[in-house]
Symmetry: none
Subunit: 229 residues, 2 copies
């Protein structure tokens, strides 16, 4: 979790290799392909946390890949950063319209792109960017994969951790069971909604272990929310 999965779509091989090396060194897991269709397949089989997409690639164009990612189940909300060849204003606007979250015009330095990636991830998935999140008396360290409450580490199972991390990324906000299934179990999972209740129950039990109050609010006929305590 603490090493975001990137998908790099770039047909300039030497640039791709450079970026791959650089990002890997920074702790990202990178998968790379020069081909649009292959990128879509890769994204489908294992949804990345962020896509870096060259506007001008052979075969299926960047903008088309962008569109299909947005339409495909499981990748609708994956942030996309576009690489555009020129400063053509058209391209910029069309790129963002198509659903890209940010763009960067060539030539750029790897460091610049690193900054963009980090910025976008921080905005969309703070925990993924390696930032610790604090909500009330709970502190989540995504790098160490730990959650503390009142200085004591919480003992959480994998699902409980993902569920709590998601809540902590969006405190106070009410999520329906369906939304939680999408976010925590992955889009398209065919799990009973009641299962969410059970995991909420387990999460509550784990969080309250030290006798602290229950920060999870049940909103009848709507869902659950995490309240800072």
């Amino acid at each position: 979790m603490a090493s975001p999965k990137l998908l790099l779509v770039e047909d300039d091989i030497s640039l791709a290799e450079l970026l791959e090396y650089r990002f890997t060194k920074e702790g990202y897991r990178v998968r790379s392909t020069p081909d649009g269709d292959e990128a879509l397949e890769m994204a489908e089989e294992d949804a990345p946390d962020l896509v870096i997409l060259d506007w001008m690639i052979e075969g299926t164009s960047g903008i088309e890949v962008c569109r299909r990612l947005r339409r495909a189940k499981g990748t609708e909300h994956v942030p996309i950063i576009m690489l555009t060849a020129r400063e053509a204003e058209d391209d910029r606007i069309r790129g963002l319209d198509t659903g890209a979250d940010d763009y960067i015009t060539k030539p750029f330095s790897p460091r610049e792109l690193l900054a963009r990636v980090s910025a976008v991830l921080r905005r969309v998935r703070p925990a993924l960017a390696g930032e610790t999140i604090q909500v009330g008396d709970m502190k989540l360290d995504p790098v160490a994969h730990r959650v503390e409450r009142e200085g004591k580490e919480l003992k959480l199972g994998p699902t409980e951790y993902r569920l709590l991390a998601f809540f902590m990324e969006h405190p106070r906000r009410v999520f329906s069971r369906a939304q939680l299934l999408d976010a925590v179990w992955g889009t398209g999972s065919e799990i009973e909604e009641r299962t969410v209740d059970v995991h909420i129950r387990r999460l509550r039990k784990a969080i309250e272990a030290g006798g602290a109050p229950d920060p999870i609010r049940t909103v009848r006929s709507a869902g659950y929310a995490l309240e800072p305590v």
Copy 2:
């Protein structure tokens, strides 16, 4: 509640797809059809929060669809945004005359349309746009699913919440029991109108809990309205 339901009526398939994923990405729930009659059916079975309607579609024309939506029960007040092909002044005027809330002339960028949709929704259904609503001394936060009065949280049941949210979206306006049933219970619900009275009573009780005055006005033989206090 925080994801408005759109109905898109557009027979240019590629444009429809573009808009569909763009809006989906922004968190809207989109249903789409190229056919006017089908659009009417879809609107009837599950009333959308906003309709995006192409002026020139095959079969039943856009203007006719617009008229029928306005006449049909359950969709009288659903905002409509018209897509017009040319800048022909005629079209614009007739479109607005017919009951459209806004129009946009092709070609337009998805971003432009997004802005219009967001603007219209904010005007007509603020809570759906995720905005907190303030009416008098009451504040409603649709994301957190909470209502405060004088800083204290109100304890509301699900129906009371929906009822109050609806009132707060249209302060001062008088609604008949039938209108409230449509808006809060959903189109086609077969509930006794007197039931509304009971829920009004419950809502009043919950709102007045702190001893504050009753903001709900009874309009004899007409309905109820929420007055800012």
